[in-house]
Amino acid sequence: MAPPRNRRPGFSRRAQYGLFLGYVAAVGGAAIGAALLLLSTFNPTAFSAVRGFFSEITTPISSAFAWVRGGIAGAPEGFSGYVNARGENERLKKQLAENEVLVSRARALNQENRKLRDMLQLRDVTTDAIVIARLVASSASSTRRYATLNAGSWQHVKPGMPVREAAGLIGQVIETSPNTSRVLLIVDPESIVPVRRTRDGLPAIAAGRGDGLMDIRSASIATMIFQPGDTFVTSGTGGIFSPNIPVARVIRTARDIAVAEPAANPDALDFALVQQSFLPEPPPAPTPTPKPKAKP
C-alpha cells in the first residue's frame, strides 16, 4: 500500500482542524484509559456496576449459545442411549441387587454415626444451596480466569459465595449484577483456597497457577511431605468455603510445593451450585468508644 502523499487534507481550515482534533481526541482518550487502568488496578471492583450493565446484556447471548452447544453435544449420547437401552436395563438391574446390600450396611453405619455425633454434641453447620445455574462464558482471551454465571443478586447470589459442582470446587463469586455474576475460578493466579489433605488432615493452601493447575503449599513448617495422588478438600478455614468440598489432586511434587490438578472441570457445562458462605459475616464492629487517654 502506498503511503499517503500529503497528510494535509486540503486547503480547508475546517478539515485541517478536524484532523488535528482527531489526534487530540485520541491522545486524550488514551490518557483517560490510562487513568481508568490505574484506578482499576488498585481497586479491581471499582467498575463492577458498569461491567454488570454490559454482562446483563451479553449473558443472555452466551446462555443461548450454551443451550445450543448443550443440545448438539448431547445428541450423540441420547441416540446411543436409545440404542443401548436393553443392555443397560439388564446391567442396572444386576447393579441394583448388588447395591441393596451396600445400602443396608450404609443405613446401619449412618445410624451409628448419628448416635456418636449426638454423644459428642456436634453441631451441624448448614450449607444451603442458594441457586443452581450455569457457567455460560469465560475470559478465554485474558490471562485472568473469570467465568460468567447466569444468576445474580435477584437470585440471592452475593459476592464471596463459593461455587461448586458435583465433582468439586469451581470458584467464588466476586461481582454480581441483577441476573449475572462473575466467578473467580480456583485456577486463577490470584485465587487462594485453604485446604487439608484427606488422608491425615494436614493443612495446606491451594493457589491457582494460571495454566489450569494449582500449587499446593504446606501451611505448616514440615517439608517434603506431598506425594503424587494426595487429594485435598476444603478445610473451612477462613469461613468462606464450607469444609469437605474436593479441590485438587497432586500430580507431581516440586521441592516444597506440589502441583495439583483441580477436581472439578468447569467446562463440563453441567450445572454449578452456588452455596451460602460457610460462616455468616461477622456483625459490624462496634463503633470505637474514645479511649481514656493514658496517664502520663
Binding site: 482527531g22 488514551a30 487502568l37 454490559f54 454482562s55 469465560s138 478465554a140 467446562d267
Partner: protein
C-alpha cells in the same frame, strides 16, 4: 445507475463508504467472541477485537477515525476480563504507532502489515498479562502460544476485512 462513474453533484458530499459503520461493528463483534460458551482454564482465544481493528486499520486506512480505538477498547474491556482501561489505552497507543510508521515507511506491503500487526498483538497481549496477572503466575507458555496463534490467524482476519470492504456493485 448504469454508468460506471458515480456522479456526485457539486456541493454534495460523496457517499460514505460502507466501512464507516461496518468497521466498528465488526471490531465489536470480534470482542464479543469471548461470549462463546467455553469455560477456559488457559488463555487460548486470540484477541479477535484487536485483530479486527488492526486488520481494518492496515487494509483500509480511512475506515475509522484515529480516536476510534478509545470507545472500541472500552467495549473490549467490558468483554475480555482485563481491567478497565487496558484496551482503551494500549489499542490507541498501537494505532498512533501505526500512524507514525505510516509517515516513515515509503511503501507498505502485506508482509510489513503482517509484521506490524504481529508486533502490535504481541505488545498488547504481553503488557496486558503484566498488568492483569501477578508475575509469579505460570501463564507465559500459554501466552506465547496465544501470540503465535494470533499472528498466524492475522492474514485470515485481513482477508476477512478486505472481503467486508468489497464493492458489492462490482462483480
Amino acid at each position: 445507475m448504469n454508468s460506471p462513474i458515480e456522479w456526485v453533484p457539486l456541493g454534495r458530499s460523496e457517499k460514505k463508504p460502507r466501512a464507516r459503520w461496518l468497521a466498528p461493528l465488526s471490531v465489536m463483534l470480534g470482542s464479543m467472541v469471548t461470549l462463546l460458551p467455553f469455560v477456559a482454564t488457559i488463555p487460548f482465544l486470540p484477541p479477535f477485537g484487536l485483530m479486527m481493528l488492526l486488520g481494518w486499520r492496515l487494509v483500509r486506512t480511512d475506515s475509522m477515525r484515529v480516536w476510534a480505538p478509545v470507545p472500541l477498547g472500552f467495549f473490549d474491556d467490558m468483554m475480555s476480563g482485563q481491567p478497565l482501561g487496558n484496551a482503551m489505552f494500549f489499542w490507541t497507543v498501537c494505532v498512533l504507532a501505526i500512524e507514525v510508521i505510516d509517515t516513515r515507511l515509503v511503501w507498505r506491503d502485506f508482509w510489513q502489515d503482517w509484521l506490524i500487526a504481529t508486533g502490535a498483538i504481541a505488545f498488547c497481549l504481553i503488557i496486558g498479562r503484566l498488568i492483569a496477572t501477578p508475575l509469579y503466575a505460570h501463564v507465559d507458555t500459554a501466552l506465547l502460544v496465544q501470540i503465535v496463534i494470533s499472528a498466524a490467524l492475522f492474514p485470515v482476519i485481513a482477508r476477512f476485512c478486505t472481503w467486508l470492504d468489497r464493492d458489492s456493485k462490482r462483480r
